[in-house]
């Protein structure tokens, strides 16, 4: 019986894949009378593709398989970042006078007259948002079976490139219509998996010239689950061992064997925003004293190495040229929210690469960009610029600044670590030169695991920390509250990296030693 049900489901899932329109009509015929039909649709289809395997069978909309690669009206899933929610909801006729359903582009073929004669009481609302593929998402995260054999013949040209945070990068952007509005509202930079019917549709809004854009009529959606790649992996043991190997691998591949710097990189990357009101935010790191890049276009190997380990990594070029020209924060122009580098989802590691910086003038826009990035580093908020008002959006990013000088020319970070090459400097080796560790999968799982750990601090430990602070202040007047906060943050991260649930004295001293090494 159970098996039968399963096969039935599997077959209707494949039916839905083959002809989503018909599947939708079937649901309508069965439940069309329902008060809240969109909820029924959501329920039905999310059940249909409930299992991981069923879900994987849905073709993905991604830069590798852009909208052109899918037939009009195909069922696709779109792992996306919500970029713009400022669009007003759209009205659609949920039931035509012919009795046929509306929404999900079902009404598109019908006569205009039919639409006009339909009962206006059947107008319903759907949320219209703009979503883009996830900026800076690493390749390994993708659960799509590698389709590298057939690369798309035509290069996909996204219709509204200004809506993607990172200019010039291949991506997919689509208008997403969400019919089941009862659930949680999508917020900018949310990561969602949208499953729906793909059409080319008119961009909704106050535009003189109607623009046709890929439009996903959502059947159901769910938040992106970052633990998916590790679902079959066994749980980790011996974290400290993995930690050690990870540090030495990162040091060897990107930091010329400098394990100290690698340890800092690791600690900074696993931090998350803890409390916002009294800011307990992730510490930021500057890697200083890097050699100048061999060529202007060379990018630090650390970017590549980290994107092998972390789900989202972006590189923010902080050269004069890009500071003066690029947009760092989202800005609403003529009621269209243009994206900026920093409009990236929570959990993104941002590598601000200042290497190759030349003398020159920072213009007004550049100054604004520097201010915005510094704000993001210190307060983990990104301003969205709207006419007459600026909205501050919370974010949760990890920042690593890379600079040639002894400190960054633009940005102030909590920690500055000068790199000390132990071997031939390889800071700019190209991606192909990087030796992929056989442990990569374990490293990823380890990082995912420790990032989401919470560490408690016991009564005794807090006593110890206090007396430690008072004692060290007696010796060094220049110590400030900031120092204490930073020390505590680092100690907590250290405990996290060792897979500890509670901070112990040993870890405290270890992290203090790490911190003191910097000061000296």
């Amino acid at each position: 019986m159970g098996r039968e049900l399963w096969t039935m489901e599997a077959s209707s899932a494949s039916d839905a894949l083959r002809d989503p329109r018909k599947a939708l009509l079937d649901v309508y015929n069965a439940h069309g009378e329902s008060e809240d039909f969109p909820a029924v649709v959501h329920e039905h289809f999310s059940n249909l593709f409930r299992t991981f395997d069923a879900f994987r069978t849905i073709p993905a909309l991604s830069p590798k398989s852009p909208p052109e690669a899918h037939a009009d009206g195909a069922l696709v899933r779109f792992r996306a970042m919500v970029q713009d929610t400022s669009q007003s909801p759209e009205m659609y006729m949920s039931r035509l006078c012919t009795g046929a359903p509306g929404g999900w582009n079902l009404e598109s073929g019908s006569d205009e007259d039919i639409l006009g004669r339909s009962d206006y009481a059947n107008l319903r609302e759907c949320t219209v948002i703009w979503a883009t593929s996830i900026p800076g998402e690493s390749d390994w995260v993708s659960d799509v079976p590698d389709a590298s054999g057939e690369s798309p013949e035509v290069v996909h040209r996204p219709p509204r490139p200004h809506k993607f945070p990172i200019p010039g990068l291949p991506h997919v952007g689509a208008q997403v219509k969400i019919y089941d509005t009862a659930g949680r509202d999508a917020k900018p930079t949310d990561l969602m998996e949208f499953v729906g019917v793909l059409h080319a549709d008119v961009l909704y809004g106050e535009h003189d010239e109607p623009v046709s854009v890929p439009t996903l009529h959502t059947l159901f959606s769910k938040p992106v689950d970052r633990s998916v790649p590790f679902r079959d992996s066994p749980s980790l043991d011996n974290a400290s061992d993995i930690r050690h190997q990870l540090i030495s691998w990162v040091a060897d591949e990107a930091l010329a064997g400098d394990t100290n710097a690698a340890e800092w990189v690791l600690l900074v990357c696993m931090a998350q925003v803890q409390v916002r009101q009294t800011p307990l935010l992730p510490p930021s790191l500057t890697l200083s004293k890097l050699p100048p890049p061999p060529a202007l276009s060379a990018s630090p190997a650390l970017c590549t190495v980290l994107s092998l380990l972390l789900p989202q990594v972006i590189k923010l070029p902080a050269t004069l040229d890009s500071l003066n020209k690029e947009r760092y924060v989202p800005e609403s122009k003529e009621e269209d929210l243009h994206s900026g580098y920093l409009q990236v989802p929570a959990g993104t590691t941002v590598i601000i690469s200042e290497v190759g910086l030349q003398e020159g003038k920072l213009h007004e826009k550049g100054v604004a960009n520097v201010v915005a990035a510094q704000n993001a580093i210190t307060s983990q908020t990104i301003p969205y610029v709207f006419p007459f008002s600026e909205f501050s959006f919370n974010t949760d990013m990890n920042f690593i600044v890379m600079t040639e000088g002894s400190k960054s020319a633009f940005f102030k970070t909590d920690v500055i670590v000068p790199v000390q090459p132990q071997s031939t400097p390889n800071y700019y080796r190209s991606g192909s030169d990087i030796v992929q560790s056989p442990m990569l999968a374990t490293f990823r799982q380890y990082l995912h695991h420790v990032k989401n750990l919470t560490v408690r601090v016991g009564e005794q430990m807090s006593e110890l920390i206090q007396s430690d602070f008072v004692a060290s202040r007696r010796q060094d007047q220049s110590l400030t509250a900031e120092d204490l906060i930073l020390r505590m943050k680092i100690a907590k991260l250290m405990a996290q990296s060792l897979d500890l649930e509670e901070l112990d004295a040993e870890t405290w001293h270890r992290s203090s030693a790490l911190y003191d090494r910097l000061k000296s």
Partner: protein
């Protein structure tokens, strides 16, 4: 007073009569205007909940055609059996198709005659069009529902006075070319109104009108009071029992007549409060499209009635000729009821169910188009037979007749638009964005379009916060994209019926700063509704307000109110009590004074705005304070000096994407006119920007001369600025002017200057460490747990004080002011030396006055008393002590701030100058090396020689021609000029 021709029309007049006499008569025109409206009423075009779709157009054009033919109002009676007053109309939406043809055939039947009537070159309707008395067509409600007066009323009122379709008025005002025709033809009154119902409902329009009439005649303030009591609201005490018994709206009507106002603001809560009209409230919100025009009609009828009664009783200004002129005037006017007072909903919550209902939303104007001439009636002429047709706008669209409606002609595609014969109205499209406080956390703001019409055009400007009542529309728009599919979308917007500027939760704008431009904003409210007792708050929240007022008054009586308010300001920030107090007083502000009898109309204006500058070490929560103030301040604008250019702060000229015209967009300073402008990173802004601030802080205006636009904008704003010291850490050893990279002239324009310093104190550190560790343990934010006012109450308190309290300085206080000022100046005297430092200038006196006034306001006191001045003096002293203290002498010296050079410094320079000259005179003629000179002075002097001071002195000497500096940088040599 009655006009003879109005001897009264019976409804029985038949069409023949009409057709013969009225081709050029405006009464017909009027009744014609009624026609389409009547159709919206009668034609079961769409369910009224969902709005009238474009199909009405058919009917509309048919009617227009009929009008062009000189026909009378269509006979409606046959459509529905009389007497079926409130039975639900059993109609399927297919009926219009059936109905229209019948009417058309009527037209056609009469058309030959009308053609005969008209000379081909002179369009038959032209005189009518010119002579039209204003029809009750309002832009916000497209399909005009002008309801002809009912018979019942006609009988009860004086002849003529009661009719809105007054030919008399037309004759007086607009002589037409067709003079002979002017002997008015009686107007056909329609079938009894009992049968009028809003389609698809049981709402009987006749009854609705009767209800509204009763309401206007019967509503008394006592009903509202009773209603509010029932709802547990506090009510305002009436000054006398009689006040509760006045028929409020009759008073308003009279006032409308006297002031010539045509808009009546109607607080819909009053409808609820008056027992007989309760039903009306629901009808109004559900079917505004039909009910509002009906109300307009009733209003006009009543205006006439009241005028007639007054004329009869011989009220002042209504006797004889005067009265008749007045009544004629009323006839010629369009009266509009503007309902408001519905609870405001978030614009995100507007949904399809609200379509064509009356809704109320709040928001921030981000863009407004220039006035757009909006075609109300299109005039078409057949190129073949010169037959003319008028087509009314319907839902923003005009359907061009595809063929000539005359059967004889019936040519296809010959109808061409005659522009100068079309009718236009003022229209403006406003984009309204959600205010930051209404946007759910982590969401981007939504925007809706508003269409405003007629009087409401140009009432609001970008940056204003509005509370808008309007009819929510969903209109299908066909989009013909480049894709294969043709897609119909529904666009939504609001047809605005009422605008109120400023919303609760923020400080009220200071009336005295916004006199010229915005005083007309409450004015559009017309008379009534926004009653005299509640001028700026709108009546909806009236009783709520009284309750709040009581509470606020109670609060103000607390002895510790000053501390309580200061504590409630940015509660998350520790300590900094005096800074908070200073900012608090800034929020209250002093009173603006203008010398009324000054030259040039009004004379100079003295600013009451208090400017505050915070200077301090980084990380001392200055920005937090600024952000907080911005949140509660009126028209508060927050900007960072680092990111903003001069244009960002002032105004700039851009091309409007809609109209492609150059428009002036205001920057932060202009936007915060009448409010508070918070500028962070004050020291980091460019000199150009800063120079603009000079003008703003003294003249309180911004001058713009760009792209051919030269103008001066008002920027009467308090400025709260924060700056970091030079080198980011404050140097105690240096005077403030050396610590802040700001010109002294600008610094001196701040009333209060606070130094927010991060002092090292071990005990504090220990407490801090404990706190931080504890925080870390809890992983939860600090709650404070003190007795503080919530943000909205604080905001309400300040709003109230700012708008209501205008304290006057008492005798005592003025003496104290004088005394304090003298004392402050005296503080500059040093008995040990003859030198005189300047400690207080008149600027400080002015500041003190403003601060005392603000303090009195804070106490809700109508008078500035001794204690106010004392506190102001204390605050000033505190601020001066930190900011104007010369670190080298420990004495207060305001010239430090005013000129940048303190007395002490000046003395040092004098000494140094003497020594340098000595040194040079003693040296050889080749001069003294720069560094040597420094060294020698250093050796002589008991204090360190500041290289900057040294440079300044040398520069002075060079300027005077005493010395000459040759060489560059390290090789500079100072030479004494001989003979000088």
């Amino acid at each position: 007073m009655s006009s003879p021709p109005m001897e009264f029309p019976t409804s029985d007049l038949d069409d023949v009569n009409m057709e013969e006499g009225t081709t050029l008569n405006n009464t017909v025109e009027q009744s014609m205007a009624d026609a389409p409206a009547a159709q919206t009423l009668f034609l079961p075009t769409t369910p009224s909940t969902a709005g009238t779709p474009s199909r009405t157009q058919l009917g509309g054009s048919a009617v227009a055609a009929r009008r062009a033919l000189g026909m009378s109002t269509p006979r409606r009676t046959p459509l529905f059996a009389p007497g079926g007053s409130s039975s639900p109309l059993p109609y399927p939406s297919s009926s219009p198709a059936k109905k229209t043809p019948t009417r058309r055939s009527q037209n056609v039947a009469s058309s030959p005659r009308s053609v005969a009537d008209s000379e081909p070159l002179d369009f038959p309707t032209s005189p009518t069009a010119i002579a039209t008395p204003p029809r009750n067509r309002r832009g916000d409600i497209h399909s005009t529902l002008a309801v002809t007066p009912s018979r019942r009323r006609v009988k009860t009122t004086k002849a003529g006075a009661s009719d809105n379709l007054n030919s008399d008025a037309a004759r007086l005002s607009v002589p037409t070319s067709s003079a002979p025709q002017l002997s008015a033809v009686p107007l056909p009154s329609e079938e009894p109104d009992e049968i009028r119902a809003i389609w698809g409902t049981t709402v009987n329009l006749g009854e609705t009108m009767k209800l509204f009439r009763d309401f206007l005649q019967g509503f008394k303030p006592k009903y509202r009071i009773a209603h509010d009591r029932e709802n547990g609201l506090r009510t305002r005490a009436l000054s006398s029992a009689a006040e509760g018994e006045t028929t409020l709206y009759e008073v308003y009507l009279r006032r409308m007549r006297q002031t010539g106002e045509t808009n009546l603001n109607l607080d819909v809560v009053n409808l609820l409060a008056y027992p007989p009209s309760k039903k009306l409230h629901a009808q109004l919100t559900k079917y505004p499209q039909e009910v509002i025009p009906a109300m307009d009609q009733v209003l006009k009828d009543l205006m006439l009635e009241v005028a007639a009664i007054d004329a009869d009783t011989g009220a002042e200004g209504m006797v004889g000729e005067e009265g008749e002129a007045e009544i004629a005037d009323i006839m010629a006017k369009i009266y509009k009821v503007r309902p408001f007072g519905l609870p405001a909903v978030n614009m995100r919550d507007l949904n399809p169910g609200d379509t064509d209902k009356l809704v109320c939303i709040k928001g921030l104007v981000i863009r407004a188009t220039p006035v757009i001439p909006d075609m109300k009636v299109a005039f078409f002429r057949c190129l073949t037979c010169s037959h003319t047709v008028q087509v009314e706008i319907d839902r923003g669209k005009i359907d061009e007749p595809s063929r000539c409606p005359r059967d004889v002609c019936a040519s296809v595609g010959t109808m061409s638009l005659v522009h100068n014969r079309c009718e236009f109205a003022d229209r403006q499209v406003i984009r309204l964005q959600e205010t930051p406080d209404a946007v759910p956390d982590g969401q981007t703001p939504h925007t809706v379009s508003l269409s405003v019409y007629d009087e409401l055009v140009d009432v609001s400007k970008p940056g204003d916060r509005l509370v808008v009542s309007g009819i929510f529309r969903s209109v299908p728009v066909r989009i013909n994209s480049r894709t294969r599919t043709i897609k119909s979308l529904f666009k939504t917007y609001l047809d605005v019926v009422h605008i109120r500027i400023g919303s609760e939760g923020r400080l009220g704008t200071d009336k005295s700063t916004r006199s010229v431009v915005t005083d007309r904003i409450p004015g559009i409210g017309g008379v009534g509704g926004v009653g005299e007792e509640e001028e700026e708050d709108g009546g909806s929240a009236k009783m709520l307000k009284t309750e709040l007022e009581e509470k606020l008054r109670e609060l103000s009586q607390r002895p510790d109110i000053y501390d309580l308010l200061a504590r409630s300001l940015a509660p998350s920030i520790w300590a900094m009590d005096d800074v908070k107090k200073g900012i608090l007083l800034m929020l209250f502000g002093g009173t603006n004074k203008s010398i009324a009898r000054g030259g040039g109309g009004g004379g100079p204006r003295y600013r009451g705005d208090i400017n505050v500058l915070l200077v301090g070490d980084p990380g001392t929560s200055k920005s937090q304070i600024l952000k907080y103030v911005h949140k509660i301040a009126p028209r508060g604008v927050y900007t960072s000096g680092k990111g903003s250019s001069a244009v960002g702060l002032t105004a700039y000229v851009t091309r409007d994407p809609d109209s492609k015209q150059l428009v002036l967009e205001s920057g932060a300073l202009v936007l915060s006119d009448g409010g508070v402008c918070c500028i962070d990173e004050f020291d980091k802004m460019s000199d150009a920007t800063r120079s603009v601030l000079h003008e703003v802080m003294e003249q309180q205006t911004v001058s713009v001369a760009k792209a051919g636009i030269i103008t001066t904008l008002n920027a009467r704003t308090s400025i709260l600025a924060a700056a970091n010291p030079v080198g980011s850490k404050y140097d105690d050893k240096l005077p403030i002017t050396r610590n802040i990279d700001l010109p002294p002239t600008l610094i001196s324009r701040f009333d209060l200057l606070y130094l927010v310093l991060d002092k090292v104190d071990e005990a504090v550190d220990r407490r801090l460490a404990q706190h931080l560790v504890a925080l870390y343990l809890e992983d939860a934010p600090e709650t404070g747990g003190q007795d503080i006012l919530p943000l909205d109450q604080l905001s309400a308190y300040i709003t109230y004080a700012r708008s209501r309290i205008q304290p006057v300085i008492t005798e005592d206080a003025s003496h104290e002011l004088v005394r304090s000022y003298v004392e402050m100046r005296k503080a500059g005297e040093d008995p040990r030396s003859s030198e005189k430092r300047i400690t207080a200038t008149t600027r400080q006196l002015e500041s003190m006055i403003r601060l005392s006034e603000a303090h009195a306001r804070m106490r809700f006191s109508p008078f500035v008393e001794l204690d106010d001045v004392k506190e102001a003096y204390r605050l000033m002293r505190e601020a001066i002590r930190t900011s104007a203290m010369d670190p080298r002498t420990g004495k207060i010296d305001l010239s430090l701030i005013d000129t940048g050079i303190g007395q002490q410094q000046r003395r040092v320079r004098g000494d140094m100058r003497k020594e340098i000259l000595n040194l040079l005179d003693g040296g050889n003629t080749r001069g003294v090396k720069w560094s040597d000179a420094m060294k020698k002075l250093e050796n002589q002097s008991s204090i360190r020689v500041d290289s900057q001071e040294f440079t300044a002195v040398i520069q002075d000497l060079e300027r005077e021609g005493m010395v000459k500096v040759v060489g560059e940088r390290d090789r500079r040599v100072i030479r004494r000029i001989e003979g000088a």
